[in-house]
């Protein structure tokens, strides 16, 4: 069975997602030893990718506030193409990754050793462990369990197809589902549509339609600064309340939400 990773990368006015994707594909090669396909909106020449698939990004855009420490600005956010992952992947078994996910170990390889059609992270770990992170446990106060779309494993089978069909349905009727699940944000988020789809396919109950990922999802927020990145170590200056806390990760895979800071370090 063919195995590989899929990365969506659409540059906006300021952020170079393709640059992030190139760094990620090198890490995927090094730690997971599988090929990477990039989905983007322009023809690029790079030997780092197994395949380059070009699609129209404008269909999937919204506006989002991007934070860089204490400053922020509103930029275009091309995130919803992820709902096409099942259709676009060239692999039988795929790990879809955000370009701002930094791989520092081979734990994700273990995804290929299990039988679930779809696996996602529900357990996550804030690298600054003193912060309250209720928003990554439930999608809203009365909503369902939160799953991270940041890193999703799926097989090319009927169950995964069903999952992505429901995600597409949620995307097309997002204003309805946003009200139903009482999501406050106006921004379309893949995390929410993936979580809602999992909830629906569990017959609106707790369930095991979506399997566990092999490890824990570590993340830093967009108000955290990245001070340095080496092969396996990342140094952060995290922010909580009015305080800062220095944090070093070593051989942890980390989802870095501060895109500006990440770009400076690559």
């Amino acid at each position: 069975m063919s195995k590989g990773c899929l990365v969506f990368a659409f540059n906006n006015e300021k952020i170079d997602y393709i640059k992030q994707a190139i760094d990620l594909s090198r890490r995927i090669k090094k730690y997971l030893d599988v090929p990477t396909t990039i989905i983007t909106d322009k023809k690029i020449i790079s030997e780092d990718f197994d395949q380059i698939i070009v699609i129209d990004k404008n269909f999937y855009s919204s506006k989002k506030t991007y934070h860089d420490g204490n400053t922020n600005e509103r930029l275009t956010f091309y995130n919803a193409a992820r709902i096409q992952a099942y259709k676009l992947t060239p692999y039988e078994e795929t790990i879809v990754l955000d370009s701002d996910f930094i791989i520092c170990n081979d734990n994700l390889k273990k995804c290929f050793l299990q039988n679930n059609s779809v696996c996602m992270y529900d357990k996550s770990f804030d690298i600054c462990s003193f912060r309250q992170t209720q928003e990554f446990t439930w999608i809203s106060d009365i909503g369902c369990k939160f799953y991270w779309a940041t890193c999703t494993y799926f097989k090319k089978d009927n169950q995964a197809k069903l999952f992505f069909d429901v995600i597409n349905h949620v995307y097309e009727n997002y204003s309805y589902y946003k009200r139903l699940y009482q999501i406050n944000s106006n921004l379309y988020r893949n995390d929410f549509s993936f979580s809602i789809a999992a909830h629906i396919l569990n017959n609106y109950q707790k369930g095991n339609f979506v399997g566990d990922m092999p490890d824990t999802m570590y993340y830093s927020l967009d108000k955290d600064e990245i001070l340095s990145i080496s092969n396996e170590e990342i140094l952060f200056l995290t922010n909580f309340g009015k305080k800062n806390l220095a944090v070093k990760t070593n051989k942890h895979n980390v989802h870095c939400m501060n895109k500006y800071s990440l770009e400076k370090m690559l």
Binding site: L245, V247, K251
Partner: protein, 112 residues
């Protein structure tokens, strides 16, 4: 600022960073103890190893992390494998913990 207060605040900052780093390496240890066998996910614990060691048959059925029954065809081999994975994770955790607690400044904690 009063020297005593400054020392106290410096120590508080150090303790804060140390506490956070300890949590990160502990979670990594837990992640490193995950083992897959026949598509079952097993979080290796001392209890699981002892259970396997004391089981008197050559094969057995174990419940994985999701309570799915998994056939273990070669229990000896399985026990050796999980013991090895657990030992490696434990050794790495021990070394990192030792390094961490031997540093007495924030800079030391982050430079180690």
């Amino acid at each position: 600022m009063d020297d005593k207060l400054k020392n106290a605040l410096d120590f508080a900052n150090y303790a804060h960073v140390l506490h956070n780093q300890k949590k990160l390496i502990k979670q990594k240890f837990i992640d490193n103890c995950v083992y897959y066998y026949n598509a079952g996910k097993f979080s290796i614990t001392q209890d699981l190893i002892v259970y396997c060691l004391t089981y008197k048959q050559k094969t057995c059925i174990l419940l994985d992390d999701n309570n799915i029954p998994i056939q273990i065809d070669n229990l000896d081999g399985f026990t050796n494998e999980i013991s090895q994975v657990y030992d490696n994770a434990k050794e790495q955790y021990f070394e990192e913990y030792k390094k961490l607690t031997s540093n007495k400044s924030v800079k030391g904690l982050l430079d180690e």
